[in-house]
Symmetry: none
């Protein structure tokens, strides 16, 4: 499964699902025309409530990134990949900007901030390899 839920990162669970489905599409893990996992299957795998998954899927439909295939499931739309690649930068850029703004406003000096960024980057990379 390409999605990981982190209950402590401040984002609502349904929003994490939305974002990560978008990321999956942007990344090519989910291709246009492909079916996303069913609400029940996704809920089971993430150990969250099916309603929460349903809500995320509903929002993705509203944004024309998923569409129903009668009696079969939800598939990635034709136009989704391009849109998701564009959105990925925006979504991450926004969060990044918000955090960096807080860091700057906190009086943390730029050198210390750079050190922090590097440290957290290497943490992430280490986790990634394993």
């Amino acid at each position: 499964m390409f999605i990981q839920i982190n209950p402590d990162n401040g984002l609502a669970i349904y929003d994490q699902v939305v974002r990560q489905v978008k990321f999956g599409i942007a990344d090519g893990v989910l291709r246009k025309g492909e079916l996303v996992p069913s609400v029940r299957e996704m809920a089971r795998q993430l150990a969250i409530n099916p309603n929460t998954v349903a809500r995320a899927y509903r929002q993705l439909q509203d944004e024309k990134l998923l569409e129903t295939v009668r009696g079969t499931g939800l598939q990635v739309t034709e136009t989704a990949p391009r849109q998701c690649r564009r959105e990925r930068r925006e979504l991450i850029g926004e969060r990044l900007g918000s955090v960096l703004a807080e860091a700057a406003q906190s009086g943390l000096d730029p050198g210390e901030l750079s050190a922090l960024i590097e440290r957290e980057m290497s943490k992430v990379n280490r986790r990634r390899k394993s």
Copy 2:
């Protein structure tokens, strides 16, 4: 006023106040023994409800960063500055780590991520100078 509330950054308002008071102490804007702005004054300046400020201040008291001076106000404790400087790195590091983890997990390639960081940093710096 050294505090700015941003209703859209996902953090609860009371939590933003908590964090920014900590940052103010870490940064030396608030020195030990100094009184923080009164609940009512802070609420007026931030245009939020006094109860929300009171809640933030209560939490800061629970963490022994503020203490009441009866009938006078709340003052920064003796030990607060050291603790706040330590915490500042942790608080920002956590949020940073969470965002970078999402970025990595999204499949965004490292070069593009670096570009994003630089872009957002320069945005923040521009805002800072003005």
Copy 3:
């Protein structure tokens, strides 16, 4: 309901709720993993405002005695019972010490004090049986 609010005993209502939930856990009325009554239910039964209950529960969470189960309620943590049994003695010992100190300082003679203790003990026991 295992909780009784007494508006005239000098303790804030939220604090009475905190203490009595701790006592309930110490006493085994609330076991680890069990859900405490919902905020609204508790408020209804004690005829107090839900916010007051919420505040008490929040404090119990801060002390790691309760933890949220999303969308379900608050449950007693694994470690709560041991901690609550320890705290029970402390909480009562403190109040007892404070009253006895006042009694001693008042010049009441020890014999009269003993008589008072016995009288109040028997009052309590009588109330208890009924």
Copy 4:
């Protein structure tokens, strides 16, 4: 000075002053016709605000335990000693009852409660001798 303020015993400061003046009268430290310390003097000695002392004295006047002597100060009334001896038992009895009720309600077993009482009594006595 026969009065000691304890900011942490849950009672308001003015109430502690009221109670302890009553205890002083009950105990004979203050005799009928004698002048109590002036508001300013008392405030200085207890390191509290004169308004707080004034408030306590006002309440004692309302209860006919103190009366003004024009241009001189406040003196203990004729009837105060008898009344204060009676009240002393009530005031202490009430607090004692409230604590014991809480102890009983907490599920603490009677043996453990007795042990606690004894421990706190001996603490008080030790402090008293020194």
